[in-house]
Symmetry: C2
Subunit: 220 residues, 2 copies
DNA sequence: TAGATTGTTAATCGATTAACAATC
DNA sequence: TAGATTGTTAATCGATTAACAATC
């Protein structure tokens, strides 16, 4: 089993699985909602019960991100856990992003206030429609897509968000990569090709709809 | 190994894994894009290369949804595959849905044209803001949320789409369930509780952002 | 102390990946 | 025939789940 061995012989995996990373926002949200009592303590067992995860799973997840061990009979200090998870997820250092495709979905994302909580900051948007150039949505300016590669680096954007139609997505992706982004959040229903080291995170609603539809089929 | 044994002794799994279901829209999209040559044939090997899946995986997936076997040296008839996948996903019988929460994201979904392709039809929307009652977006009427439970059944909606803030999501979910939906597409960042038999499909952007942010952390 | 909670180790499960035999 | 493609079987991998020993 892969892992690093630290001083006292304990063994910790080198990286957290994607699924485990996906669980982190749920822990964070739950812990933050405890709010008032946030100078208190909480046990992994309680978290597991509330979120319907297995206890061992929660313990493993927390052991990985937590800077300190939980105390037997007491649990973890809530405020410490919150800090540790936010640090692990990098929410303390906001990630700058540019968005391409200022249609309905693109504008909805530009207007969404909640990204602050997730350390995401959309700094500008781009669209191929010249009528949109110079317009604003959610307080962010929309530029013509021809300015993308130039502005991307100057804006210091590390994330590109793609909300264009499927047929245009690969072209946009290439521009984002040459503009210097290191991760792409792709809402278009296509598999994008990128050089190694660039992360593609697909938010493909077609996937979700496939699961929903399949479930309804089975219920007939 | 679980499975049913059919006449000729071949063994086929009873259900397709969630991951496999998620791959279906990619197959479908790719096959449809072949367009012009769609009275032709295609091999699983070609599909695998194009979509960057393993050959065996593609074969297993296609064997499950395809009504007929592929022919050695020839492959599958494209139009047959398209029909089979659309049938498997239930895209030939549109699923009626109601949406709750006509904010930016809710409106974006109401205005999105692409759902036709995925067999989803949003028939109405609901919001707690009385100023929105009677308004329209994407050609669909917005009703006050107090009418939800009554209208849900009458509209024959089987899917409920939740685009309200996190704190309101569970309440909305309960209404949808008592209104008779059998599946919930949840955009709020919370784990919803539902009775057995109801499917919850989470579209939690916080999960994706966690992965993006974690990747950028590691690149530093 | 007894017991709640911790972290760890081993077993199970399921999907992916690789290797192979069958078919036209 | 030789070879491309098929479907199947076995090996690998990794995550979840269960069981357990350690700690205050």
């Amino acid at each position: 089993m892969e892992g690093i061995i630290i001083d006292d012989g304990a063994r910790v995996p080198l990286t957290l699985s994607q699924q485990a990373i996906r669980r982190m926002p749920y822990y964070l949200k739950y812990l933050k909602n405890l709010g008032a009592s946030s100078d208190g303590y909480i046990s992994a067992s309680t978290i597991a019960t509330e979120l319907r995860f297995y206890e061992g799973l929660v313990r493993k997840d927390l052991a990985f991100v937590s800077s300190i061990s939980g105390k037997p009979r007491v649990g973890f200090r809530i405020s410490d856990l919150i800090d540790d998870i936010e640090h692990f997820l990098g929410y303390d250092i906001p990630n700058r992003a540019i968005l391409v495709g200022a249609g309905h979905l693109g504008k909805a994302l530009m207007c969404y206030k909640g990204f602050d909580d997730y350390g995401l900051e959309i700094v500008a948007a781009f669209d191929s429609d010249k009528k949109l150039s110079g317009k604003e949505a959610g307080g962010k300016t929309i530029f013509h897509v021809s300015k993308l590669e130039n502005l991307c680096g100057r804006l210091n954007a590390r994330i590109g968000i793609i909300t264009v139609p499927a047929y245009a997505a690969q072209g946009v992706c290439d521009m984002l990569v040459s503009g210097g982004v290191m991760a792409v959040w792709n809402f278009a229903p296509v598999q994008l090709n990128v050089p190694g080291g660039i992360l593609i995170q697909n938010e493909n609603m077609a996937e979700s709809l496939a699961i929903l539809s399949n479930h309804l089929m089975e219920r007939r």
